[in-house]
């Protein structure tokens, strides 16, 4: 066993999850593959969304995977960083919008 929770080499083994539950694993990878195909959104746009979400869910495997995916698609570092900021803005906004709840509660409790 490795001494850390995350090992970059584990990303290559992602497909192995199917070995312990073939039906669910296969369904997941079929779904995953379908999601990222060209559709109403381009595969390029979806790659940037995935990169932003990867940061928000703080998944190091996904960050490695979608940085590389972006490079393969010719996505520039400026585009990648803007996507990360879009994710970060929503995440910080999600925290800050709770400030309204705090204000409501404050006002209700105060004379």
């Amino acid at each position: 066993m490795a001494n850390s929770y995350y090992d970059p080499a584990d990303l290559r083994k992602f497909g192995n999850i199917t070995e312990w539950s073939e039906e669910l694993g296969t369904k997941f990878f079929d779904y995953y593959g379908k999601v990222f195909e060209e559709g109403a959104l381009s595969a390029r746009e979806k790659s940037l969304i995935a990169l932003a979400v990867a940061h928000v869910v703080k998944c190091p495997y996904c960050i490695d995977a979608y940085t590389k995916d972006g490079l393969q698609r010719g996505i520039t570092k400026e585009e990648m960083m803007e996507a990360v900021h879009a994710g970060a803005a929503i995440e910080s906004g999600a925290t800050l919008v709770h400030g309204v709840q705090m204000m409501n509660k404050y006002n209700k409790l105060s004379m």
Binding site: L71, R73, G74
Partner: protein, 362 residues
């Protein structure tokens, strides 16, 4: 990746591996790496075992379609990824005598395409004479691989677009990205601006225009340790950006995978990307690409007249496995009856949609 090493690689990359006396300039060292490590450990399968699974070992040629002639390793650029290890310090240049032997073959070949490459082929002192003579043979598709910046490198090259036009040459040019930053990072400062200017000059004489037969295709290869994306999608992005930003037109984009040899192998090892890259190539292995890999329809000829299955094998000094090994003894029937020489670098041509000097193959 060890980021601290990158400035050293970039600085060193201004000279060829050969001039730096880097041990990877020796092809046996490269082959040792490609045949050892993760492949010898059994972590990854050998290419021959992989193609044996689908009945393609030994790999055999189909009909010969392309004669690819490397007229010399001298180049005005020193690109970080170059599989030729080309540069201004390389002195290997095809002589007129070898060119005459090539012309004899060109006049009699069954191949429909002649593909001149280098280095910068234009730097061979007999380049123009050779093109004029070869064009007379009436071969269907006559390609010159031009790095674009050569057209702007010196006054003596300024008329190349007109020269290419006169001989109905099909120009295939490298363009790693449609942004300045990525292009200059791979190929050197100023390469982007010069390339743009050269493309505009090619357009001005008719090259690459939508209804013009003067063909101008671009080659994209990744500027780093990753595989090329979808060729059609990249072509759309390149066309849109180059047209909107610079009014540049071209016909097709060929996406070519960087093969793990020579300077690109040096980069992969120095940046600690080698194993991940080999995993990526093996994972992306596409059995349907095997039947059409370029070595099945190409013969590669080196500056000194030796024959190879492809330009990559040429750089690894893996000569054809045939009684005929040199242009002076050329015999197409004998050559077509050979087993193609392979190693682990061949995974580069079977990854994803496949890769060849003409782009994807699957």
């Amino acid at each position: 990746m060890d980021q601290s090493i990158l400035p050293q690689i970039k600085k060193a990359a201004k000279k060829s591996l050969k001039a730096r006396e880097n041990e990877l300039a020796q092809t046996n060292k490269q082959l040792e790496i490609l045949n050892g490590g993760i492949f010898a450990d059994g972590e990854l399968p050998y290419f021959k075992d992989k193609i044996a699974e689908i009945g393609h070992f030994p790999l055999r040629p189909n009909k010969l379609e392309i004669l690819q002639i490397n007229v010399g390793y001298m180049c005005n650029q020193v690109c970080e990824h170059c599989h030729v290890d080309a540069g201004p310090d390389r002195k290997e240049i095809m002589t007129r005598e070898t060119m005459e032997q090539c012309l004899e073959v060109i006049r009699n070949t069954g191949a429909h395409t002649l593909d001149l490459t280098g280095g910068a082929p234009e730097m061979n002192p007999n380049f123009r004479w050779f093109v004029e003579e070869a064009a007379k043979a009436g071969i269907q598709d006559f390609i010159v691989r031009s790095n674009l910046t050569i057209i702007r490198a010196n006054k003596k090259y300024y008329d190349l677009p007109e020269f290419f036009k006169k001989h109905n040459v099909h120009v295939v040019s490298s363009m790693p990205h449609y942004t300045r930053g990525k292009t200059d990072k791979q190929r050197g400062d100023g390469v982007f601006d010069k390339s743009i200017k050269a493309l505009q000059e090619l357009n001005a004489v008719g090259y690459g225009m939508p209804d013009n037969d003067l063909r101008l295709d671009l080659v994209y290869n990744p500027s780093g340790a990753f595989l090329p994306g979808d060729q059609d999608a990249m072509e759309r992005d390149f066309k849109k950006a180059l047209d909107e930003d610079f009014g540049i037109q071209f016909h097709n984009l060929f996406a070519i995978t960087n093969l793990p040899i020579s300077r690109f192998l040096d980069y992969l090892i120095a940046s600690d990307n080698y194993e991940d890259y080999m995993y990526a190539l093996v994972e992306a292995y596409n059995p349907t690409a095997v039947a059409n890999v370029m070595c099945t329809n190409t013969i590669s000829i080196s500056w000194d007249g030796w024959l190879y299955d492809c330009d990559f094998n040429q750089m690894l000094e893996l000569k054809v496995n045939s009684k005929v090994k040199h242009i002076k003894d050329y015999n197409e029937d004998l050559l077509n009856d050979r087993n193609i020489v392979i190693s682990q670098h061949c995974y580069g041509c079977t990854a994803g949609a496949g890769s060849s000097c003409q782009g994807t193959v699957a």
